[in-house]
Symmetry: C5
């Protein structure tokens, strides 16, 4: 069994960690390590600590971004931090960010957050199986947070 | 007891370090190490030195950004520096940046700076307790510098 | 013989890895190592693992970006991750990204993806031959995904 | 006595190093090491060399940016380079950048460059004294290149 | 004698390496090492390899960027890669990028590319002489790719 880190925030208006933990428990016997930080930009170092101190094999980083330009800048900075963290650790982080402007009501936001988190929790489980575990879905237009787009139609 | 670094600037129009130091003293017995630099972009290396030379366990980085596009660019560069610093040190930095265009009078700016600094000082104290100390607030829509937004309403 | 990594995504609506693998097999006897991840931003660490764990000599990173501003931000973050990865590994990654807004129908997208992937697979094979293997084409206005522009006309 | 690096450019239309060197000599007995490069983007590695080969304790990086969008991109890249450099060296760089669009005549540009360079040369001297040397000015709204803004007025 | 790396691309519509090599041969006895890659974003790791595998003392990185927003993003990513590369190697890279939108005809583009490349090849030769070789031109408003602007006029 592997160990999956689940990093989440108090900024988020949805308890996304619950979706991640539920999906992992339902679909695997992997251990789970939780780490809650204030906001998105605190996630990269939390992931680094989950890798190095807690020996996680993969981390699911859960965040919610506000609707303003400064919020996009924050999510960009957090994403770059997650890139460096992965390259320093040689391990995957599933970035699950929900943007407040993806929908215009709380109900929609909840659905996106749930769908995106659960699908990426499954992706994390697949990646732990090896580099070709997801190859059967390559080029299939998979989406998280909404319906799959599917492959292009050329006929 | 841990050691908390408080890094602040002469550029800021508000002595944010006072709020941070007051909150830490009131709510903990942690040691405090102060480091004052000219501006935001001098904060990342100050934090690095606070971690490596002064052995701080966490740092609160306090900065104020002007209202112009070049100021947003500066805060973006400072934020990325703080990301790298955290990943190099494997320790948290609470980024407490106030933007001059968040409000249109000095009084409002002061309130935002005070509220954001004090709440993040408390966050720092919580993070020192461990990775799940903040989990009870996960997904609660916590905000610093203004009222909490609270969790989504789906019913 | 060298080992070429082929990293691709389930997000892409086209199985770009097939084009890359077909071109490599047709034009060389290099070994191929496949790695499929969910999306673009998962490619950099996959490339890093292909270099370090699978001993690849070069990697072809295949991704498709959506048409929205947030998608451009994602591809920018992925590109920066690929830059760091290459500098850490001292090995080339051929970045083959297709943007949904490069054309307005699935057929066109398919042609761009096929042409760009195949040409960059050939570039990877050339780079494995040495630092001057491509010098004969220097300044020739080569393009991937569309017709070459050719050198400037100054007469 | 410490050693202060002064890095400047041939791109700049003002000999900013003269202001820096004059201020350092007038206010301290620190040694000075000069490094002149073509443009802004050559400054970060010059600073790195000043730290590692010339053993500078702090560097003042002097640059001038043109007025076009591509010039803003250049100064952003240079600033990020300076961030990494500082974090790698654990030493401060005073970034003194003047932007051609800050004013509309040569005379104004000269005044900004002189004022900003001299004030940051003094900041460098202060930082060499220790982490709290500037704390007496914390939150005072200090500015370089123009008049101080001063602290907020809340009464 | 030192060794100068010349990195160029097949994407460029002008054989900029010829200008660089011609200028180096005419003005010095330095060795030259050539490295041709597909595009701009392949230059940073090529420079890294020129430093580490080929022992170059300095590199001239020659690239041409297209006129679209995505091309600006590419050149930004390449520039950041060059920044990191220099900081990792402690050696200079002369970034010589030509942007297709700097002029509106092939002839003008050729002149810019030739002028910028030749001037930066001379800059590389000067930097090899030491940190103050260019100090005599500090603040002189030197430009590459066009006429020098010269120092500000304050009288």
């Amino acid at each position: 069994m592997a160990k999956i880190g689940v990093a989440d925030t108090t900024f988020s208006r949805i308890n996304m960690a619950e979706f991640a933990i539920g999906t992992i428990k339902k679909n695997s016997k992997h251990q789970i390590e939780r780490y809650t930080v204030p906001g998105m930009k605190d996630l990269p170092v939390a992931c680094k600590i989950l890798f190095e101190k807690y020996n996680c094999d993969i981390v699911i980083a859960l965040g919610m971004a506000g609707p303003k330009p400064i919020d996009k800048q924050c999510s960009h900075e957090a994403s770059l931090g997650l890139q460096w963290c992965q390259l320093m650790a040689n391990k995957h982080i599933m970035e699950v960010f929900v943007h407040a402007d993806e929908t215009n009501d709380d109900r929609g936001l909840y659905q996106i957050a749930k769908n995106r988190t659960e699908k990426h929790a499954l992706n994390a489980i697949e990646l732990l199986k090896g580099s070709e575990a997801l190859s059967k879905y390559a080029g299939m237009g998979k989406r998280q947070g909404k319906e799959d787009e599917g492959p292009v139609k050329t006929k």
